[in-house]
C-alpha cells in the first residue's frame, strides 16, 4: 500500500468534516465559523506534519501516488500533438508515447513514459516499463527531431526498463545504449523532466539532456529502491532502507549537479493541483528551450559534453 495514500486518509476525513460544517453553516443561522477555523487550522497543521518533511521512502511513494499526473497528462496539455507510433521493426511500445507537438507555439518532438492510470491502462502501458521497441522508438523520434531541427522534450516516469524474456531477446541493453548514443550528439536542444519515478538506465535513456528538470517530489535513482535492495542485500523487501541511502530526492540531486532545476509542488503533492502542475512544468520547459535556442549548435553540444563530463570527475588540481 502506498504510504502517502495511507497518510492522506486522516486528512481526507478532516476535509470532509470541514466541507460538511461549511454546508451546515450556510444552511443555519448559527455561527460556526470559529469551529470551522479551528478545524482548518488543525488540517493545515497535519498537512505540514505529513508533507512538510518527507522521508526518502515517502518521496518514493509520492512519486508513485496513484493520482499523480502521468506522462500522458503532460502530452495532453500541449497545444497540439500528433502521435507517431512504432519502432519500424517489431511493434509499437505503449510505455512510451511520442510525436510531433506544439508547446507555447513552438514546434517540438515530445516523448513521454506513461505508467497508465487504471488496471487496464497499466497493462496496456506495461506499467511504464519500456522494452527495446520503446527505446528504438525514442531513437527514431530523436533522429527525426534532429533532421527537422526540432527541440526534443521528454517526460520521464518509469520504475525501470522492462525486465522480461522478450526484452532481453531483442537486446534491451543495446537499445538503451543506442538511445543514449543518439541523444549524446543531437544538434537540437533536449529538455528532460523527471515527473515521477526516474528508475535507472531505463529513465536515463530519455534524460541525457541539455537541461534536466525535476518535480520536487519526483525521485531519480541508480536503481528502483526494490531493485537496489535486491542487488545489495538479496532482499527487495528492504526497499525503504535502500531509499534512505540512495540519495534519490530532488534536494540531493540538485546538490550533486545532476538536476538543473527543481519545480516546486503544492503542499501535499502534484496531484493536489494536477492542471496547475502540468502548466507550471510546461512553462518551465518552455523557458529552458528559450535559453537553449540562443546557443549555436556547437556550443550547445560542447556544453552538453561538459555538463555530464564533470559529474563524478576528480576536482581539478
Amino acid at each position: 500500500m502506498n504510504v502517502i495514500v495511507e497518510r492522506e486518509k486522516g486528512l481526507l476525513e478532516l476535509e470532509q468534516r470541514i466541507a460538511e460544517l461549511k454546508s451546515q453553516a450556510a444552511a443555519q443561522p448559527v455561527d460556526m465559523s470559529a469551529e470551522i477555523r479551528a478545524l482548518e487550522a488543525k488540517y493545515a497543521q497535519i498537512q505540514r506534519e505529513v508533507f512538510g518533511a518527507m522521508t526518502p521512502w515517502q518521496r518514493v511513494n509520492m512519486a508513485r501516488h496513484p493520482k499523480r499526473p502521468l506522462g500522458s497528462d503532460y502530452i495532453a496539455a500541449l497545444d497540439q500533438f500528433d502521435e507517431l507510433h512504432g519502432d519500424r521493426h517489431f511493434r509499437d511500445d505503449h510505455a512510451i508515447v511520442g510525436g510531433f507537438a506544439k508547446l507555447a507555439g513552438r514546434r517540438v518532438v515530445a516523448i513521454a513514459q506513461d505508467k497508465g492510470r487504471d488496471t487496464k491502462e497499466k497493462v496496456f502501458r506495461n506499467f511504464g516499463m519500456p522494452g527495446p521497441e520503446g527505446y528504438r522508438k525514442v531513437i527514431r523520434l530523436v533522429k527525426l527531431a534532429d533532421h527537422l531541427g526540432l527541440p526534443v522534450v521528454t517526460f520521464v516516469d518509469t520504475s525501470g526498463a522492462d525486465p522480461g524474456i522478450g526484452s532481453e531477446e531483442r537486446a534491451q541493453a543495446e537499445a538503451i545504449a543506442q538511445s543514449l548514443y543518439e541523444l549524446a550528439d543531437v544538434r537540437v536542444p533536449v529538455v528532460a523532466t523527471i515527473i515521477g519515478e526516474g528508475g535507472s538506465g531505463g529513465a536515463l535513456a530519455l534524460a541525457l539532456a541539455d537541461r534536466v528538470l525535476m518535480l520536487e517530489h519526483a525521485v531519480y535513482s541508480v536503481a528502483s529502491p526494490e531493485g537496489a535492495a535486491a542487488i545489495l542485500w538479496g532482499d527487495a523487501a528492504r526497499a525503504e532502507e535502500a531509499a534512505s541511502r540512495l540519495r534519490l530526492t530532488s534536494d540531493d540531486l540538485i546538490r550533486f549537479g545532476i538536476v538543473d532545476d527543481v519545480i516546486p509542488e503544492p503542499l501535499g503533492g502534484a496531484h493536489r493541483d494536477p492542471s496547475g502542475i502540468v502548466t507550471r512544468v510546461l512553462g518551465t520547459v518552455d523557458g529552458a528551450l528559450d535559453a537553449l535556442a540562443r546557443l549555436p549548435v556547437d556550443e550547445l553540444r560542447d556544453r552538453r559534453y561538459r555538463k555530464f563530463r564533470r559529474i563524478g570527475a576528480p576536482p581539478p588540481r
Partner: protein, 278 residues
Amino acid sequence: MAAEEAAQWTKCPKCGTMIYRPDLAANLWVCSSCGHHFRMHAFDRIATLVDADFTEIGGDLLPGDPLGWTDKVPYPQKLQRDREKSKLTEGVVCGFASIGGYPVALGVMDFNFRGGTMGTVVGERIAQLFEAARERRLPCVVFTASGGARMEEGMLALMQMAKTTLAVRRFHDAGGYYLSVLTDPTTGGVSASFAFQADVVLAEARAAIGFAGRRVIEQTIRQKLPDNFQTAEFLLEKGAIDMVVERKELKDRLVRLLDYGVGAPLAPPAPTSAETPA
C-alpha cells in the same frame, strides 16, 4: 608446505576437475577438461594480449565516498577490502599498448573489484581512455565485465553511463574505431552504455550478457529461465552481437579486426612489425 601445495590447486566451477594453477594460467585460464572460461584478472588479461609494454593511464584516480554510504560496513571499507583482494585500485584498468603490432587504447574491466561495477572512477577512466584515444588517433579496445552501475555511488554512478557515452560518441564521430569484447558477466549500466556502442561487438564464449540480471527476471516472471538464456551464444543467435570467440582464438581475432581499421579517419600509421598473423 601442504597448505602452500594445496593453494596451487583450484577446482573448475563447471566440471569440478582439480586444476594445477600454473597449468590454468598457461592455458589462458581455460579449463582443459571442459573448456570453461575462468574470469580473468585485468592484468592477466592484458599480459595475454599485449606485445610488450602497457602504459597505464588514470590509475591514480581513486574513488571517494560521495553518498557517505554505510550498510553492513562503510563503503570505504568495502573498497579497501576489494583493493587488497584484487590487487587493483578500481574496476577497470586503462592504458596504451600494442596488440600484434597494432597500437591501441586498451581498457580491461575486472569483476574482482566490486563486481566490476561502474562508479565515478570507472566512468572517468573509460571517458579519459576514449578522449586519449581520440587525441592519439588510436583504435579503442575495451573488455567489459560488470554487474552494472555501482549502488554505493547512487546517481553519480548512473550518470557515468551518460559520461562514457558522450566520450565514445565524440571518439567515434571523429572517425575512431572501437571494438568491445564482452566477457563474463556484462550486464546493467555497462551493457546498456559503452559495451554495446562499439563498431564491432565480440563476446567470449559462454559469457553471461544482458541488461536485467537473471534473478530479477526470474522473480518478475516467476518461472525458471532456460540455461542458455543471456549467454554469448544466445545473443549471437538473436543477432545482438557480431561474434562469439573462444579465449584461445581471441588475440588473433582481435589483430585481424584491428587490421580492418587501418584506413579509418582516426587511425595510426599501419604497423611496421612483422607480427601480423598469417
